[in-house]
């Protein structure tokens, strides 16, 4: 499929994805807001520029594997996949509802292009290591790349570090992990709940090549992903510094929006009836930076 989106087109695509995330969450009446909005730029970059993939051939042997470990941010993946043509956009309105293929957390049995099922944290990186090992056994390590998206807080899970140790030992240079470093989790800020720093030094000690990245600078995202694929001697860890709730002023950097949709009564936040409207207006105008008309 078309994977030659320009930086400007990718930024616009990310913004469309954010608006559809808000609509999907409002329709569902439950789900996670902050993480999906924060990762919209990364997912736009994946599905419209970086990934080697074909929405019409989800079982294509040579496709890049994208493993989503923190399954709760699936609204961003579902929305990006719908935009890329994996399934009709009309499915987005069925998220979290009975008989839907869009489970509250990703189900491989419902949509095989999700590559795995996920939800309980800390389980994706191990599986990504298994994918990468198999690629090496089959001599396919230069044919496709294995990407694993993780949250920062799931680095509180021991299993993540078991996998990090394994990848270091086996020099899985066909594997890249992206950490959504948004500093929030359900109960508060990561460094209050259970400090993760120094994250870079931890990964380096486990035998990884680490790159810090601004997760909202599209040009930097593209160049960092290209750099990650070019590192030959080690697995690569990209620490993507993101703003949770990116693009919606009242959600940005506020952990209270981790696991709830627009339309939730939270003290100090806009009236719940107006939240979706405010969010969509802000996204359409990029916070009044551009006229809504320019986007249409």
């Amino acid at each position: 499929m078309k994977q030659d989106y320009t930086i400007t087109e990718l930024e616009k695509k990310a913004n469309e994805i954010r608006q559809d995330i808000i609509k999907l969450l409002v329709k569902a009446g439950s789900g996670h807001s902050a993480g999906p909005l924060g990762m919209a730029d990364v997912f736009a970059a994946f599905y419209f520029r970086v990934l080697k993939h074909d929405p019409k051939r989800p079982a294509w042997k040579e496709r890049d594997r994208l493993i989503l470990s923190n399954g709760h941010i699936c609204p961003v993946r579902y929305t990006a996949m719908a935009h890329a043509g994996y399934f009709p956009k009309s499915w987005l309105a069925t998220f979290r509802k009975i008989n839907s293929k869009l489970e509250g957390h990703p189900s491989f049995k419902k949509i095989s292009a999700l590559e795995t099922s996920s939800g309980p944290l800390g389980e994706g990186l191990s599986q990504a290591c298994g994918f990468a090992m198999a690629a090496k056994m089959d001599g396919m390590q230069h044919t496709y790349h294995v990407w694993c998206v993780t949250s920062d807080a799931e680095h509180q899970e021991g299993m993540t570090w078991e996998a990090a140790m394994f990848a270091g030992k086996n020099r899985l240079n066909n594997l890249t992990v992206i950490i959504d470093r948004n500093n929030i989790q359900i109960d508060g800020y990561t460094e209050d709940v259970m400090p993760l720093e120094p994250l870079r030094e931890k990964y380096e000690a486990f035998g990884w090549h680490v790159i810090d990245m601004n997760g909202h600078d599209m040009a930097e995202i593209i160049s960092t992903f290209q750099e990650a694929k070019a590192i030959a001697e080690k697995p690569v860890c990209i620490i993507a510094h993101t703003i949770p709730g990116k693009g919606v002023s009242f959600m940005e950097k506020d952990y209270k929006w981790h696991g709830v949709p627009p339309g939730t009564a939270i003290p100090g936040e806009p009236e719940k009836e107006k939240q979706a409207q405010i969010a969509l207006r802000e996204l359409r105008t990029l916070g009044k930076k551009i006229e809504a008309a320019d986007l249409d």
Binding site: K109, S117, S118, P120, E123, G130, M159, E162, F166
Partner: protein, 323 residues
Amino acid sequence: MNYFLAKNYLDEKKVEWKPMRDGAGIGMAELGETAKDMVVLGADTIESSRAHYFAKKFPERFIQCGVAEQNLIGISAGLSYQGKVPYAVTYAPFLIGRPWEPIRTIIAYPERHVVFVSSHAGLATGPDGPTHQMTEDIAITRCLPGFTVIAPADYEQARKAVQAAYSLKGPVYIRNAREKTPLFTTEKTPFEVGKAQVLREGKGATLIGHGYMVYRLLQIAEELKKEISLEVINLHTIKPLDGKTILASAKKTGRVFCAEDHNVIGGMGSAVAEFLSQKHPVPMKFHGVQDIFAESGSVKDLWKKYGLDKAGTKKVLLEFLKR
């Protein structure tokens, strides 16, 4: 049906004693010759859980995970998505107990074909004590949708089970004891996953077991043959349950005695009771580990103290038959 059991198998002194874990280990190494997509994964217990036979023969298809059983499960899942058939091998409490939630979420839920091969199941683990004597593994695997749960009766059946598991679908658990136990089946003995074996026919009561307890039941049935005719079923596959064979036997004998080296809560006996109580309720007795953690000791001493030896099993059976 002819099961081609070993010559003079009922004589404990004449029958050969071999560990199930050896049968499983050798079975995997044999299977590796033809099953080119098979990968064996170990977690720092490769010799004692007998993954080393395969590891030495096919080092390029063996993965050492270290003491990290959750990762063992994750790597297995990842490999399975890529068309490999992973065999994850370590002690039962670490293989099934420690990473149970990852097994549920990333193996069972997405219906991955991963084969779990344990050693150290049950009190037959011996002196390592209750931390290593896994007596809950059947309960926590059979409650997961899509799981096949197999508890071979001896060395030879363990060998066949690991090979049969290759062509099944979804997750498979094969439960093996560490200790040497009587090898009473032979290479010629048939083995079909999901098909219970009526090793001895009788009319007075049905005795059902898995693992080495099947041998005990056969011995006891022989010893009591003048008093009562006892039917003995080797229920090597606990899930899917061979309801047809169990139902036919229960209808014929009218009572069922279950014996297993596993907690009586949630084990094979529970599976049989769940089935019979709804299809054809009959009086039942559950002989096994009576919802306790045992202790260190030689396997023979443990069998004796906790009533899993022949004498202890016979005593419980005779009380049941008197009712």
